[in-house]
Structure formats: C-alpha cells, structure tokens
Amino acid sequence: MTSRRDFLRIGLGCGAALGAGALPGVSFAAPAGGEPRLVVVILRGALDGLSAVPPYGDGDYAAARGPLAIARPGAAHGALDLDGFFGLHPALPGLHERWRARELLVVHAAASPYRERSHFDGQNVLENGGDRPSGAASGWLNRALGALPPPPAPGLALGQNVPLILRGPAPVGSWAPSLLPEVEPDLVARLRDLYSNDTTLAARLDEAARIGALADADGAGDPAAQRQMARAGNGARLRAIAEAAGRMLAAAAGPRVAVMDAGGWDTHAGEGGADGQLAGRLRMLDEALSALRAGLADAWAQSAVLVCTEFGRTVEANGTRGTDHGTGAAALLLGGAVAGGRVLADWPGLAPRHRHEGRDLRPTTDLRAVAKGLLAEQLRVPTRALGAVFPDSDRVQPLAGLVRG
C-alpha cells in the first residue's frame, strides 16, 4: 500500500448545529467548571510528525524512514497503536491513554499555508494566522479573544513574554515562576503612578498584578515553590509550569485561553527512533500534557488542547540520521471536550511521487481549518468573525465536529 486517501474526513458542512456553537455569542452563566478552556501548545523547531505519529501501515514507511522508523505495534519498542494504520511514538503513553479514553484526536499531513522552510517565518505564519510571514502584527488567538461578545478573562502566556499568537489588542497576561521575592504593594502603587503617562507599561503592570494574585490564590505563587520550579531541569520545569497553568485555567477568575511553548524539536542529526534525542523530548511533552490535565482537574472535561508545530520534516532521513526541514506535519488535539479517538488524515502516501517537492509529506489539511473549527465549537467564536481572525482564508472551511456535541 503506497497511498491511502480514504481516511476519515469528517463532514465540513453538517457541523454548524453541533455543540454549543448553535448559540454563538450567548453569554452563559455556568459555574467556572463549565466554561470552555483552550490551550495551544507550540512545539518550536518543527516536530517530526512521522515519528511522533508513525503511519506504520503505509507500505513505504519503514523503507523511507530507515534508521528512524518506529516498529509496528507489538514489536519490541513498537508504536502504540491507534487505528491499525497510525500509531503513537512509544514515548507517548500518556497520550495513548487519552486516545483510549477517546480524548485524543490526531490530525496528520496538516500544515499552515506556509510552504518555505524557515523556522522563524514558519512560526510567524502559524501564529499570525495569515497566509504569509509578517502578514499580521497580531496573533490569531488574540483576535479570537477580541471577537468574543462577552470578553472572557485575559489570555495567559506561560513564560515571561507573550508569543506572537497571543499578541494584539485584546488584553493578555504572562506568568513564569520567579527566583526572587515578591514586590511590596507600596512599590507597585508608586510604579502605577510613575507609569501614569505610559500606557504600555501601565497595562503590563496591571496585568502582572492580576496574574500574580491569581497564582497566589492557587498556590503557584508560593515563593519557595516558584524557586524550585524556576531551578528545575527542562522536563520538570515544563511539567510544573503546565500543572500551574492548569490550576490557573481551572480557577473561577482564571484565564480561559492559554499558550505554552516548548523548543528542542529541530532534529537535524542523531534524531533517534524509539529511543534517543526525539524520544526524550516526546516523553517530556507527554508528561507535561499529563501535568496540565492534572492541574485542570475537573475543568479538563471542558478543555481542549491543541499541540502544533511550524512544519514537518523530510520523509527520508538525511545523511546524519536526522531529518531536515519539511512541510506536512502532525497536530494533536486532546481534552475532555474533544471528540477524540480518531485520526483525521487525507493520507497522501510516502512514496516519492506522492511527496511535496519529492521530499516532504504532502499537506492535505490546512491547520487553519482545525483552528477555525476549534474556535467556533470550543470558544464559540461567531462564525462571521472567523474571517477577521484568519484573514485571506475564505476557502478554508472550519473543520466541524472536533468538539463533543
């Protein structure tokens, strides 16, 4: 089997009446636990989707991947099976559990509209929501927040600064654990006065105070805990931050939209297969996503987490047992709100003639269709506003049915 184009493709038109999207813009006075949450996790550096979600059933897979191929399910260090054709990398047991709970949906052979191979432009397109680098100075998730009729709590970036995807006119905060003691309220008050003629710094200060109070209320603000978090190694730190993020999102006054990112996916050399460099990163991601779920606790049921990357990597290993920059990638959608247990892929096949420019996995799903579907069904962004959130995307229909009805 070299090509398999008959994968699940959920109906594009029939989903408009699904889920809460039926009442766009209606404010709901549900208890905190009932409000929808959306978390976007950006994997910077281009995740190798053919290793994270190996299409082991594609007859060309093992040959094309050579030393990087993940063995079939059941074999030693084999993939964790999804649907008899796709599997998960063996370092992703937590995600596999979500799959079995029908809370994980995989979108494969997906890509943003960007077709060059620069990380930095690729991330820019992924985040600005347009069809070219530097097409918009704000991010699509910020514009989505702005399009919600009763504006929700400000968005939250996990990190000191706000990545492009969440930048823009709608208010956003940021949070990262600190090594230093908390600042006296008197100084904050004086700074507020000092910034009275500086709207940017004044807004940042207010937002920081608000998030600080939220973190305090929830225990993440405890100075000793923060120092420990800030000093932890990469994996432990990401886990701790993910869990703190989950708790803040779960809080009644907390954010409803958050962004995290993780780097280290640019595996040009010595990528490894079931073990090695990439496997280590994937394990870290798997544990961080489990920690996020633990932090969200009851609110997990109302949550959707989109894990995406700027582009995929070459189908074949390069000369240094790694992969170079490619095109089609895999995206993951998980959460209690997600209609999971499915792989969405109009699979193009891995044989050279099916590849993009003879080298990359050919993208068959526009990531904007996934994002639009999520915004419509999960955040209930009015359909008419999606055009402004994703400019120049008239032809990209939102994928429907991503969220449980």
Binding site: A64, R117, S118, Y195, L201, A208, D266, A317, G319, R321
Partner: protein, 501 residues
C-alpha cells in the same frame, strides 16, 4: 558614506532635538552624551557623561578602530578548539568504555552529562563572567554592543550540549577580531569556527559521492542493511548561512540553492577521528576532502567549479557582498539601534554604505552614527533584559565578584548569555520582551539590586549622572517622594526613561 561625511553632520542632533520638542529641555551636548551612552553604548557609568559631552559623536567613532587588543578579561580563557577537542575525547572514551563494558561486563560508565557539568560548565561560566565584566567596565561600550550584536546575528546556543563550552569562544575568537573589519572576513571567521560547524551539524554532512560517502553507501548496499539512512547531506548550515547570516529569508534563494550549497560545504568539519580518517588536532576546524561532494555546483545562478575548500569560500565571498546581504545587515543594525520598525531612509543609507565599501563594517557604523534621526531624544527601543541589566549595573558602578552574582540578572530575566535557543538569535523588538511577567521580574530584580547597593547611592544623583536631561519631571518627582533611598533607586531603574534607550 565615508567616515568624514558622517563626522560633517555633527551638531545636527541638536537641531532635531529642539524640533522634536517632546521633552522640555535645551538639547545640549549633555543630552547628546546621554543618548550616545544609552542608545549606542551600554548605559552611562557615573562620571562618563561629562567627558562624552565634549564630543558625543567623536566618542562613538573613536571606538571603531579596525584593530584593538583583546580585552584583558579574556586572558586565561581556553580556546574553543581545545574545549571541543576535550569534549570529543571524553565522548569517544565513554563510547569505548561502554563497548568494553557490554563485552566484558565491566563497571558502569560515567554518562557524558558529567563531562558537560564538570568540564564544559566551568568554561561557560568563565566566558559568561568575562563577557559581563567587559560590558560593565569597558570604556568602548559601542564596540562591545556591536560585538554582542554580531554574536547574536551569528547565534550559537548553549542548549545544544556540545556548544556549552564553545558558544562564547565564537564571540572571542571569530567575532571580536573582525567587529570593525570587513563583513566578508567576519563571515568567513564565523563559518570556519568549530562552534558554528558543530552547532549547525556540518561535521557529519557527507557528500554521497565523496570518497567516504561512496564507500559507506556501497558497504550498506552490499550488506542490504537498514534501508534508507544513506550517508549524505545535512542542510542545516547551508540554510542558516543563507537565511540568517547573509541574504535574509527574502533574499532570493531557493531550496535548490540550499541543497547545492550544502553539497559545496561538505567537508567543512572538525579535526580528530581515528584510523584512515584521522585529521588535524581534535576540535579544530578542518576541511576534510574525503567528505566533500565532488563536482561543480550552481548557487544563486552562479557556477562554482570544483575546488575543494575554496569552492565554499568562493560562495561565501559572493554572499558577503550580495545586495541582499547588505540590506539584511542594514535592517538588523537599524532595528537594533534606532527603532523596531526602522526608517526606510536609514536602512537605505546603511545598505548603501555597505555596498559602496564592499562590506566595510566601520563605514556602515559611521553611517549609522552620522544619521541625524538616530539622535532623536525620544527613545524608540525598549531595552532587552541584558541591556537593562548592563545599564543598571553600570549606573551604580556595580561589579559583583562571584560569577553567580554577576550572572544572576540575566538568568532571572530570561536572557542567559549565549542561550538564544535557536540560530535566529534573540529577538530585537519590544513586543518580544515587554510581557507583563517580564516587567514584574524586572521590578523584582531592581529591588534586589537597589537593596544591595543600598542607601549609598542617591537615586537622583544616579539619575543625573546617567540619563541627565533625558529624565522627565514626573520621574524626578517620584524619586524625590520615595519612601527610602533604595526604593527611589528601584523606581529609577523601572522608570519609563530607564527602561528604554
């Protein structure tokens, strides 16, 4: 744009300052001195503004001599090749020991992480501490800012373990000697430095038809071993040279140019190895002919005949003077010094200076310093964490002795030395650094610094000695009403005027 022409515009800043009218002040040489030290330098140290005010532009231009001796702080640091050679030896030893252990059931082998922590980390800390000491004490802060600008342009990040000991050596060995020289020399020094070739994975990039590549692939074919995984090219270095180091992402190259250039660069490697492929001292840059893909290659429409190492240097030489490179460098310099969205007229001026001088960087810097708009009193740039830490420590003439204390600010504020995390380097716009949490971290760190230098510094005197006429009334009055001397100092560090340059 020649240096003479740049100098002839002296005094123009005075005009634009009074036209600006944003700040109620007489645009004196005092304010030009504050701009020179804050925007172009690393922030004034007490006592610096006075001498600079005599000739602010001249003070900057005098720092741009082509050859200057290396700063004394660098004495005693190990060479990059030595550090890398030791790392590779440790790696080989461990591999060998592990093989033996597997064969004979020997003792457990120390993981390579121990070498990273015990050997590489001290090298890194020494380099980072030396870099910080230079920045805090130098009398040529523009030159030092330019050194760090180019280190960021040619970014090597320590999050790749093999680079932990060498990232700083790229700055000291390849960048410092050429910071005011020709871009072509700078480019060549960087791309032939062991830190860069290892960071971007080139030592293992092998021409499929090279001596070694053909042998390896033949062996594999006969053995009918693992399919795929042929010995071959790695595109990383070639792509980042084109995208980040020279032409820029819109500079007019294609995927075919990347692949072709990657073939040209096969053999750009490091020394060491065993048996028939042993070559050169371990860790030094080496051209390995046995890895080089033979044949002529076309890059950007120009054909380069097979010439071994010289094929690569010929491509680099052309890239170094390409109009797209001139423009890319012009945009980045203008963005760094003047505004996040740099004025097109300035970019044009710098690109022209670059082109007219075949990439003489001193001429480009002189064109920047000579541009009136660069002297507008209203600051356009929000300081990066590193710029903020340097300027605050310089303002109170602080020079912590312990490396840990010296480096704490960079760590707390999220800009550890040599760790941009990607070959694109740290971003250089306000939006990348002005997050709410980032501001709170700056406040926390300011309080810690102000508490440490304590009441010995009058905040208002520090203000006069560092920003002087650039500081507004609102800030002055906030400082004078502060509850304590150290609170006043923290307020000064966090004032809108001090946060920008």
């Amino acid at each position: 744009m020649t240096r003479r022409a740049a100098l002839s515009t002296r005094g123009a800043g005075r005009r634009s300052a009074s036209e600006e009218g944003a700040q109620p002040m007489i645009a004196s040489n005092d304010s030009l001195a504050a701009i020179a030290t804050s925007r172009f330098g690393l922030g004034a140290r007490p006592g610096e503004l006075g001498p600079v005010a005599a000739d602010p532009r001249g003070w900057l231009l005098a720092q741009l001599g082509r050859r200057e001796p290396a700063p004394g702080e660098l004495a005693g640091l190990a060479a990059g090749a030595t550090i890398l050679g030791e790392f590779l030896a440790a790696r080989d030893e461990r591999r060998e020991a592990r093989r033996e252990a597997a064969r004979d059931g020997g003792a457990a082998v120390q993981p390579l992480a121990n070498h990273v922590r015990e050997v590489l980390l001290p090298h890194y800390l020494a380099q980072a501490a030396a870099r910080t000491r230079i920045a805090l004490t130098t009398a040529a802060p523009l030159r030092e800012r330019l050194v760090q600008f180019w280190t960021n342009h040619f970014a090597v990040s320590i999050d790749k373990p093999i680079c932990l000991g060498t990232a700083g050596t790229l700055e000291n060995e390849a960048i410092r000697p050429h910071v005011c020289g020709r871009f072509a020399d700078l480019l060549r020094a960087v791309e032939t430095h062991p830190a860069m070739v290892t960071y971007l994975d080139n030592p293992q990039s092998v021409g499929p038809n090279s001596e070694l590549g053909a042998r390896a692939n033949r062996r594999r074919a006969f053995a009918a071993a693992a399919p795929g995984g042929r010995t071959g090219l790695n595109e990383n270095l070639a792509r980042e040279i084109l995208e980040l180091h020279t032409l820029g992402v819109d500079g007019g190259y294609t995927q075919a140019d990347v692949t072709s250039f990657a073939a040209v660069l096969t053999g750009w490697s490091i020394g060491g190895g065993k048996g028939r492929y042993a070559q050169g001292a371990p860790g030094t840059f080496q051209f390995r002919a046995a890895l080089h893909e033979p044949g002529a290659r076309t890059v950007l429409g120009r054909r380069y005949a097979e010439a071994g190492f010289a094929q690569g240097t010929a491509v680099l030489g052309d890239l170094a003077v390409h109009p797209s490179t001139a423009r890319h460098v012009a945009v980045k310099l203008a963005r760094h010094f003047v505004a996040d969205e740099p004025p097109p007229a300035l970019v044009e001026r710098l690109a022209h200076a670059f082109g007219a001088s075949d990439g003489d960087l001193a001429a480009v810097y002189a064109a920047l310093v000579g541009w009136d708009g660069a002297w507008a009193p209203a600051p356009q740039k929000f300081k990066t964490p590193a710029e903020f830490v340097y300027s605050a420590l310089r303002a109170v003439a602080a020079l912590p002795k312990e490396p840990k204390a010296l480096l704490a600010g960079f760590e707390v504020l999220g800009q550890r030395h040599y760790s941009p995390g990607s070959p694109a380097g740290w971003p250089d716009r306000a939006q990348d650094w002005d997050g709410a949490d980032a501001l709170m971290k700056r406040i926390e760190w300011s309080v810690a610094l102000a508490d440490r230098v304590g009441e010995s510094h009058s905040a208002l005197a520090t203000l006069e000695a560092t920003l002087g006429p650039l500081a507004g009334e609102h800030t002055r009055s906030a400082l004078s009403r502060a509850a304590s001397g150290s609170q006043a100092l923290a307020l000064y560090f966090m004032s809108p005027e001090f946060q920008r340059r």
